[in-house]
Symmetry: D2
Subunit: 265 residues, 4 copies
């Protein structure tokens, strides 16, 4: 057919003189291959958001081009290729700024502490970035951990309430970093880390380890923050912890954000 017949409404001008910060597509489910420190690469499934800015002159953006860029980079979606994808979006959409967010379950093999039984742990990760003149990237990872309440342990003659909690850490950095290293850093900052497979001797171990190592939500975010403050590769971080309190029907929460170039917020 003759495309000339089909008016390009998006390219028409807009009289309101208002630029749009972000316009694009959201919630695209897509298979991706990400870097894996142990195995080289790992195949998983991502939920992807892609945006550009829209200058005040234009009525609309061309949404289908986002998908075309995505298809072109299929199979190479990782921290290293991220800047290329961002620049491709910016170029194809003729924008000054482009945003990309890729969220996916990431799997690591983990060995039970006593039995050595191996299993897979799943961690929710997000790689996100923006390009205008330069590319600025960040990584976010969610890591489930065990916390045991110091107050409950202190005041009770037997036991102490404990629960699963979720650490969400976002970082910006200078040099390439491995998601695996962030996950291990976080898992060392709780009463105990969590496993997909524990045999009886492992269950004894993690129970006693948590009891020996009580931590409040406050302790978890401070422990993570302390390690990141001393890590020169990390330029900014935000750590959230939400604790699924076993004695309450609401959650406990703690949050620390630090821009190391700007000092404490």
């Amino acid at each position: 057919m003759n495309l000339g017949e089909l008016a390009d409404v998006q390219s028409m001008s807009d009289p309101r003189n208002i630029p749009i910060d972000k316009v694009g597509v959201r919630g695209i489910e897509y298979p991706v291959t990400v870097l894996d420190k142990r195995d080289g690469t790992q195949q998983t499934v991502a939920s992807i958001n892609m945006y550009v800015n829209l200058p005040k002159e234009f009525k609309g953006t061309h949404m289908s081009r986002f998908i075309e860029v995505l298809n072109r980079f299929r199979g190479q979606m990782n921290i290293r290729s991220f800047p290329l994808i961002l620049r491709a979006i910016k170029k194809e959409l003729q924008a000054e700024e482009a945003h990309l967010e890729v969220a996916f379950p990431y799997f690591m093999r983990k060995t039970a502490p006593v039995s050595g039984a191996e299993s897979l742990m799943e961690y929710r990760c997000t790689i996100h970035g923006v390009v205008n003149h330069d590319v600025r990237m960040g990584v976010k990872v969610a890591v489930p951990v065990t916390t045991l309440c110091p107050c409950s342990k202190e005041i009770s003659s037997t036991g102490a309430h404990n629960q699963r909690g979720m650490v969400e850490l976002s970082v910006r950095f200078d040099k390439f970093l491995w998601i695996e290293d962030l996950i291990e850093l976080i898992e060392s900052c709780a009463s105990c880390d969590i496993y997909a497979l524990l045999k009886r001797e492992d269950e004894k171990y993690v129970t006693e380890k948590a009891y020996a190592n009580p931590m409040f939500a406050e302790d978890v975010v401070r422990a993570v923050a302390e390690k990141l403050i001393s890590d020169e590769n990390i330029t900014w971080f935000s750590v959230d912890f939400e604790n699924i309190e076993s004695i309450h029907n609401h959650n406990a929460y703690a949050h620390i954000e630090r821009d190391k170039e700007a000092g404490p917020t």
Copy 2:
């Protein structure tokens, strides 16, 4: 305007000769007043589903009539008025069968075990029913509880892993019953029940109570089932328990369903 101008497409006939089991509206958020054992009534907000069957002759149902029935009964949505609402839906939609599902957060005042500090606990409840010749109703309630692992306690020299878990109980019954009674029944079937407000002396109490009363997911559903089997007003029940394991990143689950008129399934 002259409604005669607007064709009633829904009332046209359908050639496929296939009856539809359920057709209607879903996810209507609506303020409702429900019965409260202590205070008479309680105002809350419900998410409502309404369906009817559609005979094979008709092309479609008249969706707006569901909303009109709902508006008519606004402020009297409870177990006692439920049969009236069901019959009104059946009548207005000219159906042989009508279904109504009303899910809402329900609040109960609860007193901390030692300090006596009072707070509100929220429980997710659903009242659902169907009418054809007779009305058949059911109630579902979700109750968060604490469980402490008997295995972890037995094998560990100190402490025991524990966590929040959610009991979901659905029942059918002969005579009117109070949601409050179901909730209290469930809360007596865990290592400890859960509170919105606990002072330090209460936290000591619940920690020690849970440690003294270890229960698996299996124990929770059996304890609930045992009480319902002996309750003559309950004709059918289904109890689910999902345990937010503090040492794993997956949940433990147990389920018992029993039709007391038909015997064990």
Copy 3:
């Protein structure tokens, strides 16, 4: 019992010298009474988050005090009382800064455009605020609307794809404002607004109105932004629109944020 027996672990000092930006409780479901422009007040159910900062000296905060403050203000949770609640949290938790977020479904009576049939529309609202020396507040509201695609209309010989979309508007302001006014502002910025109850003559009206008034996601956020830029009471706003594309399995998205004291971001 003698409280002196129970150590106050939270009040102990922390050696890490790291202040915590936010610590508190999340996901407390609670019945609230909010202001209603038409009826004076309205009872609904909120999901509440409460946080304070924690100075670097202290090991932990006292979570139960949040609930005690909440219980004290039960039944007066609205824009006018918000500053009092914030100051009470700050005082009871002995903090320098306190945060409060209250999210709830809000209901407005709405009249169908032709039949005049009345029904209830539900809108998700959030009131949030922070106090340090001064109180700073914001309101967020989510409003579903209809959009009809200008490109689809232009290039197609018949019809045009249309869909439900969700506008999320956050604002900061000088003087008190009504949620109702924000909702009406947003509903005037789409191809057509949405109703809970439409009779046949209304369905004809909204179908033709949407077809006569095609808008991209970009048009919706620009139309909202244009009105807020000219509203002197609004000091800052962020408008998001997510369009549930009827021809795609992903959503279209547009976003404008404007700090009127700082100029365009």
Copy 4:
């Protein structure tokens, strides 16, 4: 260590004499390889539930064994291997009955109707099965489609409201079937099917196709039911359709279930 030291609490007897219908693990995120009609296999990520029955004599089941079975079958999780996995669960857990549910996003390449532009569509699939003496399996798939309202088209001088809706089809069958065939069957039962990538000429095509082919929620479930009734390989089906009404803030819903061995329900 000497395992003899660690009591096997789960194997202890239970006095309540109540068998448990299902006990196991829920929400295990796991990478899986499934069959792909076009490419042989496809790698994706599943959310997995595994249960067994528990005889009345035993206090608990051994949860870790579920994960061990899962790890053994890693990489061969598909309709063909499903019976083997079910029998392995039954054997390892020493149960009379075992249940397995595997839900995953499944991707198919799809070609735009005019431009021929290729993109990936995501569909949510679930394979589930139970074994006691025999194995009984089922497949569920969720397929987004476009519907255009026949009433709105009939009564309006211009346009017609349309929207995205979700068909959820569950089937039981005699012989092996391809998920792809179910998806294509469903996509042929709507006003138009949905794409991840449409160029302008495609958008014209799908807009006009939907307008030429108006369907109610009732029409969608009847069209799917009609095809399945005539398919001898299908022994049972349940089809749900939920329509994200573009003119309402609630959804329209229709449902047909048919047990072809038992006749209409």
